[in-house]
């Protein structure tokens, strides 16, 4: 028996139109929105954690990066404008811009009293060098009763902000780059 050519079963692969992968290449906007989402998330988290505004400012516009050579220094040896104040574990941090770079000074106590200036050793600052003495209650009462303490840090040795803050600043910079 002959099989008619017409009746022969022919396996035909299902001819489906290939479904377009949606969207095969996402439009650039998607990246852009994700950045905004990250950004707003981080801003939300960090504004709801307690960060001193001044610390943030200082971290964002770090004072130690290349001193903008104040022209006034040529004429007088007196220091020129500064004033970044930060509450730092009970001490107030001032950044004094001198003719030879910025110096971080942390002040504890009543500024009416005579001054006691401290200077730490190599690679240390007041936290790692004088903490033991000032945490000793008898010494702290003796010194703070008589003096206002000025902790001077050698250039580049001031205590840094928290690690999280650094991450935050890096994140912001990264986001700005992406946008």
């Amino acid at each position: 028996m002959e099989i008619k050519r017409e009746n022969r079963l022919v396996y035909k692969p299902l001819q489906l139109k290939p479904r377009p992968l949606y969207p095969s290449v996402p439009p650039l906007n998607i990246y852009r929105y994700s950045v905004y989402i990250y950004l707003s998330l981080f801003i939300y988290i960090y504004t709801h954690t307690v960060i001193d505004e001044e610390v943030l400012n200082r971290a964002l516009f770090g004072f130690q990066t290349r001193n903008p050579e104040p022209p006034a220094m040529a004429e007088s040896s007196d220091s020129v404008s500064i004033d970044v104040e930060t509450i730092y574990l009970g001490g107030k941090e001032h950044i004094v811009r001198t003719g030879r770079g910025s110096v971080s000074v942390i002040i504890y106590g009543d500024q009416e009293k005579p001054a006691l200036v401290t200077y730490p050793d190599l690679a240390l600052n007041h936290m790692s060098c004088f903490q033991g003495l000032f945490f000793c209650p008898e010494a702290a009462t003796l010194l703070l009763h008589n003096f206002c303490i000025y902790h001077i840090s050698p250039p580049g040795h001031e205590s840094s902000c928290s690690w999280e803050l650094q991450q935050f600043v890096l994140m912001i910079q990264f986001c700005l780059l992406m946008i």
Partner: protein
């Protein structure tokens, strides 16, 4: 990010520049004569400051001070440290060098004895330092001039503390010998490294108190001080103020005047 890395184009500051920074800070805050307290390199900077601006310094409290050129061993140590800083940054070997400089063997620990809390805390704080900044301060200190000659001209009272196990012990003795004996006192703290402020702050208490009494500064009275303070005059009679009776864990202190 307070301590960002200093731009490498900025000129390296000498110790002279560091003393000038201090005077600018004092001028900024409108301070007249001040009391100064420094540790090792800081003590060197402050004693140099006291020599340059004699009228601005009331007194000096120096902890393991330096005054001469670096000795051969110190010079070698500093060279090793600056090379490590330059090529490897804040590596563990460098931290060991620095801890050797700061602390005595007892607190640094050994195979049997674990290192103490202060050393661990210091190690953590050292991690935060930017190696280039430390490198620059180290260079300034390693190139320091000898200030022995100027010491004789110092007229302010000086109180020197030195740990017996400090690498700068000889330096402190030399400095005391050169200072005017009428104005200077040396306190040697036994079983202690360079950083007396961290290792044995209690040992500094009584000498500091006597030193400040010379300026007519009193210990806090009961009204202003904390009522628990053993320094309050009404709490304890003065003859009981000797270290033994205060119940502090004091190691014996030799005092040379």
């Amino acid at each position: 990010m307070g301590a960002a890395a200093i731009c490498p184009d900025d000129p390296v500051l000498s110790v002279d520049d560091l003393t000038d920074q201090i005077i600018e800070v004092l001028n900024y805050f409108g301070l007249g004569a001040v009391m100064c307290m420094g540790v090792t390199a800081g003590a060197y900077v402050l004693s140099m400051f006291a020599m340059k601006y004699r009228e601005r310094v009331l007194g000096l409290i120096l902890v393991s001070p330096l005054c001469r050129h670096p000795s051969w061993t110190e010079w070698f140590c500093n060279k090793v440290m600056s090379n490590l800083l330059y090529y490897y940054g804040m590596c563990s070997l460098l931290k060991e060098c620095l801890l050797y400089r700061y602390f005595s063997k007892e607190v640094r620990g050994s195979a049997e004895v674990p290192e103490s809390d202060i050393v661990q805390a210091c190690r953590r704080l050292l991690d935060e330092r930017q190696s280039i900044n430390v490198f620059r301060f180290l260079q300034a200190i390693n190139r320091r001039p000898d200030i022995t000659e100027g010491l004789k001209t110092l007229k302010c009272r000086t109180l020197i503390f030195v740990g017996e196990n400090s690498p700068f012990y000889a330096e402190a003795l030399h400095m005391t010998a050169r200072l005017d004996r009428r104005y200077c006192a040396l306190v040697e703290v036994q079983a202690c490294g360079s950083m007396v402020t961290e290792e044995q702050p209690h040992a500094m208490l009584i000498p500091l108190e006597y030193f400040l009494m010379g300026y007519g500064m009193c210990r806090p009275s009961q009204l202003t001080g904390s009522p628990r303070s053993p320094l309050s005059p009404t709490c304890i009679s003065p003859e009981l103020l000797s270290p033994e009776s205060m119940g502090l864990k004091l190691k014996p202190i030799k005092t040379r005047i």
